[in-house]
Structure formats: structure tokens, C-alpha cells
Amino acid sequence: MKIRVLILFVACLVGSACSEKKKDHLVIGVSMLSMQNEFIQQVADALEKSAKTANVELIVVDAERSSLKQVEQVESFISQQVDAIILNPCEFEASSPAVEKAQKAGIPIVNVNSSTKSKPDAFVGSDDAESANMAMELIAKHLNGKGNVLMIQGYMGQAAQLDRERGAKAVFAKYPGLKLLASQTGEWDRAKSMSLMENWIQSFGDQIQAVFAQNDEMGLGALQALMDAKKDAQVYVVSVDGIQDARKSVEQGNLDATLIQNAEKQGSESLRMAVELAQKKKIKESNILIPFEIFQKK
């Protein structure tokens, strides 16, 4: 009995929400990958903030890393007849039906931070290859386009490793004076990369001028080995991600630079796109790449 009353009550609520549809502001549904993740949380905060200034009502839900849940959430957005949907996809393939369903229902959908197989109306995010490219450009600038570089790779064959390698290789092609002394995998791991760097110090010694690590954990491991060998002052170390430990290390003057994905911009830009699409405005560029930010000691 109690349950029936509850169902009735919820039905009334939903009904009133729907009948309220014709109102003066836009309603946008947002499904996020996981609110446990610090970075995703920052994107969500930025979305809320820009929504407030744009007078947009946001319905934010957490997919808790389940693409099944995410598709269901988008289905419920569709039945609520929201004006637009912002999707932070859980998976490339499995979150695709969410995009297809929204488009079939005629509701514009914007992907933020990562992509799906089905093409949404707009994409806002950052490019892994670009982060590696920028990191290597910093190294090239530091060495004046000429010198010996070591590269620590992620797990071989993973998308992030392949993209970051591609981005880095482009810079080597651009500066013929840059020499890749060696490149090995540190498996995204600090301890593994520390051992790798110790071995490299044995084989290359004072030839080493710069190190590019494909993530911060590995960069910090390599740095630890360089510090123990008292070589950190003469070797320029750059890594990617901007995790808290890495930023702290940069501030202490140890790590030379890290690259940060701009959560705030990803949030505000995806909201702007969703609003424009909901207002049926013509969009010039549907693929917006937010540049990484260089974090280094001033």
C-alpha cells in the first residue's frame, strides 16, 4: 500500500515536472562518467557554474562508470524532454547507444572529455597527442632544438600510449637535432620508471639532457632516480596529466613541467555548445579541442 502511494506521488512529481515544460529557461541533462574522479568532478563544477550564469537548469546524474546506467539516464532525459544533453561517456562503444537515442528523439547531444563511436552533435575535449606534442616542444625549446632525450612510455599498445607517442614523434621529426637516446615502457608506474631511469643513468650517464614521461607517475619516478644520482639539476624532466603530486613537485622546483587538462574550460565550453544547439543556432565548429595548459615554475 505504502509503495503504491509512493509510486503515485512520484508519478505526480514527474507529471508536474513535465507539464512545467513550457518555461522561460532551458533544461539540460548531464550524465557524468564518475563523480568519484577528481577531474570529472571539476568538469561538473564548471558546468554548474556556467549554467547558473546562463540561467540554464541542469539535471546532473552520475553514471558510476556503468555505460548501461548511462544509457538509461539518457533515456530518462529523453522522456523528460530536456532541451539538450551533455554526455561524459563511460565507454567508446558501449555509451554510443545513448548518443543515437538522443539524436533519434531530436535532442541535441554534446560529448565532453571523451568520445563515442557514434558522432554527437558536438564534441568538447582535449587531445592526448597534443599533450605529448606540447611536452616535447617544451623540451625542444629548453634544449634549443638540439640534444639527447629519453622517453618513458605507458603500457605498450594502449590508446593513450599510442597517441602520446605519436604526438612526441612529431616533434622529433620537426627538430632533426633532437635525438631519442632510448624509449622504454615504465608501465605508467613510478617504481618501474625509477628502476628504468637508474639503468639509463648507467648506460647514458651525462649524455642525458631531457626526459619526457608519458604520465606524471613515471615522470616522478624518473625524477627520483635522477635526484638520488644528483643529476636532477642538469636533466630537464617533463610529464603529462597535472596530478597533485606532480604540481607540488613543480612548485618545489624539482619536476620541470607538467601539462594540465583544463577541466573548467571543458565544462564551460560544453555548456555553451549545448545551449547554442538547444536554441537551434548554427554552429561553426562542432569539434572543440581545449588546449592543455603548461604548469611550470615561473
Binding site: 568519484q36 612510455q153 605498450m156 632510448a182 624509449s183 622504454q184 615502457t185 608506474d189 613510478r190 617504481a191 625509477m194 628502476s195 628504468l196 637508474e198 639503468n199 639509463w200 643513468i201 648507467q202 648506460s203 607517475e217 616522478l220 619516478g221 627520483q224 638520488d228 596530478i243 597533485q244 603530486d245 607540488k248
Partner: protein, 313 residues
Amino acid sequence: MKNLFLKSPTGGIFIALVLVCLLFGSLTSRFFTPMNMSVILNQVSVNAILAFGVTFVIIAGGIDLSLGSLLAVSGVIVALLSQEGSYALWIGLLLTLLAGMAMGAFNGALVVLTKVPPFIVTLGTMTIGRGVALLLSKGRPISDLNESLNFLGSGDMMGLPVPIIFLIISFVFCQLLLTKTVFGRYVKAIGGNEMAAFVAGVRVNRIKLWVYVISGLFAALAGILLTARINTGQPNAGLGFELDAIAAVIIGGTSTRGGKGTITGTLLGVLFIGVINNGLDLINVSAYWQQVIMGGIIILAVVLDGLYQKMKK
């Protein structure tokens, strides 16, 4: 002298180790330097300490797959207890070692009481341990550790890096425990024939429990050293370390069926893996080939060792 060498159960792996050293020495002049030898010993210390502990488990006829996770939990615990301005170093170390023994006792108690195969029990505790490490650290690396903890990872004492000193002490301790005590003899007896040992009056369950406690204790010590070395407590540390440690034990001639094995053999097995890792980096073999070569050399070494043992007879 020649006879003595041939009789040694670890002769085969010793020859293999000398051969890979000569190989790398001929490929690069950077290999046989005192500095590089010190780097190798330093790098293998964590794996060696894990492997010494698990040698007892394997000789007793068991297995411990939870090593890597226990190492991670211990590493996180010691990092949490060694935050700048918290407890004195020795308190953190003591509590971490006790935690390691408790986790080992949990493994041992499950094996003894439930009669579930240790492979399954420790597979379960491996997953539990990883989860506990993530819970304790909230999924993030724990940094800002005491200087004194870092000393254990990168300091020098009596001209030797501290991890190498821990390696030597652990080696001597385990060697004596296995060869000079009643406990060591019982461990071998249980692994050789559990029923016979029981009939002969060995308290089988108690000894079995203790081998897991020893394994847990050394996993905790390895966790402390790793944390000290990289100067952070990492919940993801030690992924797959159990396999490296178990591989070293087997390469070192300890029987997977239990009953026989030596600590010296385990040390040689650890060095063998460490030298290959180091050498492949020195001669800069591509990351893809490294794994293929590593696996190939290990299989080759064990096969040759088998032939060698047969020849001796």
C-alpha cells in the same frame, strides 16, 4: 672443489647467471662497473625480500598470490604512519610489519581451517588487499613522507645502500631459519609428505600458518622498502610482483610440488631476473622485444637446469 660445485643443487642456475652476465658484459662496457652492480642489487632488493618469504610457503607445498597486494597495503600503511610530523619512524615500521604478519596469518588461517587450495585463498586475498590499499589511500598516492623513511630507500650505511643491507640481513635470517632450525626441517617435511610429517608428530597446521605469517612479514618489509625508495605510498604498487617473486623461487630450483628448495637458489633466481632487466635496458632492446626475450631466457634457464640436474645423476 669441482665435486662440491657439482653437488650443489643451485649449480645450474649459478652457471646460467654467470652466462647472462658474461653476455651483457660483452655487449656493453657499462655492465661490469661497480656502480651498475650496486644499482642491480638495489633494484632487486624488493623482489628478493618478497621471494625469500614466499620460498617457505612454496617449500611447504603452498603458494601465495597475495604478495603484491600485501606489499601495496603495507606500503600505504607505512606512508600513512610516516606523514611529516606524525609518529616516530620505528612506530610506523613496527606497526606495518605487524600488519603484514596479521595479513599473512589471515591467509594461513583460511588455508588451514577451510582446506580450500591456497591458490584460491590467496587469489581472493590478493583482490581484497588491493581494495584495502585503495580504501586506505583513497585511491591516491600518499606523499610528504618523513625524511627518515626516505633514508631507508636511498640512504647509505657503511658504504652500502640501505636496501642492500636489508637484502643481506633478510638473506641471512631466512637461510638460518630454513637450514639450522627445527622449524625449517618441519617446513620441508610437510612439503615432502604432509601425511608422513603429521604421523611423525609435526604440528602441521601450526607450521603451515607460520609460513604464511613469514610471507606476510617479508611482503610488509618489501612494501616499506618500495615506499621508501619512491618516497610515496602507492595503492597500485606491486601489481604483478607476486609473479616475479614466485618465478625467482622456481628458477632458483625450489620444487613447485614442495619439499625442497634453498634460499641461496632464490637469491640466484632474483639476481638472474634483475640482471636481465638491467642488461636489456642497458643495451636498449625495444620495449616489445624485452618481454619476449625475458620470457624466453627464463624458460631456457629452467630447461637447462633440468638437464643439468639429470646429468649430475
